[in-house]
């Protein structure tokens, strides 16, 4: 029978005077035998709530109960807590980490052998007991972190974003393991920024900006959207313009490019038949699609942004050209014995979006840096906007706009100073710089933040500013490195509205991501895994490679990775 093991009632937390509350009157109950999800974008308050339940942060108001006790009275050996970076000592081995946590949680010596054997089998780490935790892969670290949290069977298991940056295979394995624990009667709280994980939970708490948007089974949230979600398959050329027009339509609440189709969420009472179709595609039929948690989230927030981009409207037209905008021809990078990227080859035609998809550490960023001229390839060659990477690096850099991971703004400079700096760095001066900056401020609504330091901006504005800085000089090619990690879906849609608009102007885009939803925006994708390019094609071609007609991007990714591992083992 389900039994509550932890609860929060009306908890409020504020960091600093006058700051908006990190948590604002949140209620939550974790029960045994159910997978409870704590879902929301970065900065929603998930980690703060997790830490409160672990007794590491005191609420300003409201109360926390763990098995009926306050955090000060509770028996800490009854809680298993895995913080975001797993809490492992990287210079200790797998078994030393396990022993440390076993001692700290008071696991008796005579129970140890059996428990360790079980955990090592469960996490498949038995072969690596002597390896230092720092030398494990991301997925293995995650499993060891879980094992340390489980070393003495807890009543409550708290997992703070356990799946961030880990490859989908490890992610799925971890999910299956935790599912098993739930079945044994443990109370589990799993926090995540991936909305697709929310769909698999038994019960979900959806947080946004410190407030609770929804709690209950995820199906109750997506159910009412049944019949409002459609896919319209369209040829590549007309997808973006159709989406733009659809999003400007009152009847449409939200929409995305989804592989070879446009996916639309209609407003209540909106008729999909009225959505304008591109000329020559009048016979394209809207097909009903299954509503997803992300649709429900956007709907709760009142729908996504419009489809037109002020940025794209003010952008120059890139003259059409037959030479590929980006070409990678057998790019290879070795650091000593280690091959970070091996024989990467693809071309991106003008006005296309090309994605590099893969888990952290697979070689995406290395490929990216070679194409930016920041790393010299060990072998192979490449070109950007027709300029050779080996001989014309300065021209390469001048013709691309680069938005780095985590936005790489100067946190201690104001918004205005950041814009001035990047204008100068891209060689804009005088009137051209003033115009470009004025335009950026207007397009991205930065006026009220101009004097504020970039480091203190809300995440969504940081991302806007980073995009603004990257395109000040109106480059023909844009490189985006993990551009929308952790931001909420509205901000992500707004971002892609700008990118789609620029692509219509003839801009070419290279994007890295480990985010499956984002991969759907790409015209073509290269899958990078363990430094190798294991598959290349349109999103739908990759899904077809996975075999199943209804496969998601993640299914495709996992199937392709497993096939690659099988080949590797056979070799």
């Amino acid at each position: 029978m389900a039994r509550p093991v932890a609860s929060a009632r009306g908890v409020v937390k504020r960091f600093g005077e006058g700051a908006p509350p990190a948590l604002d009157g949140v209620d939550l109950v974790v029960e045994t035998g159910r997978m409870t999800g704590l879902v929301g974008p970065d900065g929603a308050g998930k980690t703060t709530l997790m830490r409160m339940l672990a007794g590491l942060v005191d609420p300003d108001a409201g109360e926390i109960r763990i098995e009926g006790c306050t955090p000060d009275e509770m028996d800490r050996s009854r809680i298993g807590y895995m913080p975001q970076r797993f809490g492992l000592y990287e210079d200790l081995s797998v078994s030393e980490n396990l022993n440390l946590y076993a001692d700290l949680r008071g696991l008796a010596e005579n129970e140890r052998e059996e428990r360790f054997a079980m955990l090592l089998r469960f996490t498949d780490l038995a072969r690596f007991q002597q390896r230092l935790a720092g030398n494990l892969s991301g997925g293995m670290k995650q499993k060891l972190g879980l094992a340390c949290a489980l070393v003495r069977e807890p009543a409550l298991l708290l997992l703070d974003e356990p799946s961030v940056g880990v490859d989908p295979v490890s992610r799925r394995e971890l999910w299956a393991m935790v599912r098993e624990l739930v079945g044994e009667g443990m109370g589990v709280l799993w926090s995540t920024a991936y909305l697709d994980e929310a769909e698999k939970c038994d019960s979900v708490y959806l947080l946004n900006e410190g407030g609770l948007l929804y709690d209950g089974p995820p199906g109750d949230l997506t159910g009412p959207l049944e019949g409002r979600v459609f896919r319209i398959a369209l040829p590549e050329k007309s997808r973006r313009s159709t989406l733009r027009r659809a999003l400007d339509d009152e009847a449409v609440a939200d929409g995305t490019v989804h592989g070879d189709a446009v996916r639309l969420l209609m407003r209540k009472g909106g008729d999909v038949a009225t959505v304008a179709k591109p000329s020559g595609a009048d016979d394209a039929k809207p097909v009903p699609a299954r509503p997803r948690f992300e649709d429900a989230f956007v709907d709760l927030l009142g729908g996504g942004p419009g489809g037109s981009s002020d940025l794209a409207d003010a952008y120059r037209d890139i003259p059409p050209d037959d030479t590929p905008a980006i070409a990678a021809d057998g790019l290879t990078k070795r650091f000593g014995d280690f091959t970070a990227a091996h024989d990467i080859r693809f071309t991106v035609g003008q006005g296309q979006v090309f994605g590099l998809l893969g888990p952290n550490g697979a070689g995406k960023s290395t490929t990216f840096k070679m194409l930016c001229g920041l790393l010299t390839p060990t072998e192979g060659s490449g070109a950007v906007a027709g300029y050779d990477l080996r001989h014309a690096r300065a021209e390469v850099r001048q013709s691309l706009g680069y938005m780095a991971q985590k936005f790489s703004l100067y946190g201690d400079l104001s918004v205005r100073q950041n814009l001035d700096f990047f204008a100068g760095a891209y060689g804009l001066g005088g009137r051209r710089a003033r115009e470009a900056i004025g335009q950026a401020i207007e397009t991205f609504h930065l006026q009220r933040y101009l004097g504020q330091n970039a480091g203190g901006l809300p995440l969504g504005f940081k991302q806007r500013l980073a995009l603004a800085c990257a395109v000040l000089h109106q480059p023909p090619v844009i490189f985006l490195d993990e551009p929308t990690s952790g931001v909420d879906p509205i901000v992500r849609r707004e971002f892609w509205t700008h990118i789609n608009g620029l692509v219509e102007r003839g801009v070419s885009v290279l994007v890295t991501t480990h985010f499956m939803e984002e991969a759907e925006y790409c015209d073509r994708i290269a899958l990078i895994y363990r430094s190798e390019q294991i598959a290349t094609g349109t999103p739908d071609e990759l899904k077809a490679m996975a075999g199943d007609g209804d496969a998601t991007m993640e299914d495709a990714f996992i199937a392709l990775i497993e096939a690659s591992d099988a080949r590797r083992e056979a070799a």
Binding site: R51, G55, L56, V57, P83, R85, F86, Y89, D91, L104
Partner: protein, 374 residues
């Protein structure tokens, strides 16, 4: 049962800490490489004793007395007369850095001396104040010796009837190495106690391991002790290495007892370790913690402990400040145990002060270390 599990947690944490020390190259660097570098630098490289000073002589009188005094300077072991000429010429040489001082024997010197007077002028380079002071003193010494010997030649009593004869005890050769080398042990222990400890705790905050540890049943007191004891041992080990090298390689005398040295060092490490823990508990970031540790522990130990710069020659307000520097109470103990011997009358009051510092810092530390993240 409770005590047993507490002991087990403590043991586990200390084993973990020790393994990390053994595997972490930066711990080895700070505990062994840095002390040896410092010791060899202080033992071989730095010398605070004045040797022969390059000097210019402007002899403007050709009388016998003037010639004789010039001869005395030329023959002195403290001066190396490099140039002779007018003050104007010598001034250029001083600007160029060829010479450090100018001795001027004025035109009427011989006549005035015959009347029982006679003055000379010594011009020194004030931009090197330490050396200027040395030179002024030495040149006065040469002149006084010259005058005394002239008086003796003439069969008269030397003018100052009381002769001053200095004897330096405990460091008869006045070798600066003999106090620089033992004193550097204070710097080494400060680095390990405060800087290294601050870094390792801040690193646990940065890597998120502190968060995971604090969510276990471990008590905050156990956490503190598990950080203090391994680094106390490391500090003592490094001290022992320094002491052995000081005596064997640099020939620094060791007149006290090993026991006293260990007690002195242990009591000094108490405030040093607590300061390191307090810094990291307050800042939780390796970069900031290292800056604060350098500023509050390392620099005062270098500059305000009386090790290199004598406290009695500092301005009064700065002298007041030195009372707040723990190393000020360690340096006299270290010098005594090396150069003089065990003197518990000197040790005990200094130890009492250090113990007081340690207890105050421990109190602050316990207050700052809460099982909370924000």
């Amino acid at each position: 049962m409770k005590a047993a599990s507490s002991l087990r947690r403590l043991r586990a944490m200390m084993v973990k800490e020790t393994r990390q020390i053994l595997r972490d190259p930066s711990a080895f660097l700070i505990a062994f490489v840095l002390p040896m570098t410092l010791l060899f630098l202080m033992g071989f490289g730095v010398n605070l004793d004045a040797s022969k000073t390059r000097t210019g002589l402007s002899l403007q009188d050709d009388g016998a007395a003037a010639q004789s005094l010039a001869g005395a300077y030329a023959g002195s072991r403290y001066f190396d007369i490099r140039a002779v000429g007018s003050v104007r010429q010598l001034r250029e040489r001083m600007v160029a850095g060829d010479i450090r001082a100018i001795i001027v024997i004025p035109p009427d010197f011989s006549r005035d001396t015959a009347r029982g007077g006679g003055t000379i002028q010594v011009i020194t380079d004030g931009s090197v104040p330490n050396m200027a002071a040395f030179i002024a003193a030495y040149s006065e010494g040469v002149r006084a010796t010259w005058e005394a010997s002239r008086a003796a030649d003439a069969g008269r009593q030397p003018t100052p009837p009381i002769a001053l004869s200095a004897r330096f005890w405990f460091n008869p050769e006045l070798a600066s190495r003999n106090f620089l080398v033992p004193g550097s042990i204070a710097v080494v222990m400060t680095m390990i106690g405060s800087l290294l400890t601050a870094l390792v705790v801040a690193r646990e905050w940065e890597r998120g391991t502190m968060e995971a540890i604090m969510a276990t049943p471990v008590r905050m007191g156990e956490l503190l002790v598990s950080k203090v004891l391994p680094y106390l041992a490391l500090g003592l080990g490094s001290m022992a290495l320094c002491a052995v090298v000081a005596v064997t390689v640099f020939g620094v005398p060791f007149r006290g007892s090993v026991g006293a040295l260990i007690v002195i060092s242990t009591i000094y490490l108490y405030p040093a370790l607590c300061l390191g823990l307090f810094i990291s508990a307050a800042f939780k970031n390796q970069f900031v913690a290292s800056q604060v540790a350098l500023l509050t522990a390392f620099l005062p130990t270098m500059l305000l402990s009386g090790w290199i710069f004598e406290i009695s020659s500092m301005p009064a307000w700065l002298q007041g400040l030195t009372y707040a520097v723990p190393a000020r109470y360690l340096i006299p103990q270290l010098l005594t145990v090396f150069l003089a011997g065990d003197d518990w009358l000197l040790f005990l009051p200094n130890m009492a002060v250090l113990f007081g510092f340690g207890s105050l810092l421990l109190f602050l530390c316990i207050r700052a270390t809460r099982r909370r993240i924000a």
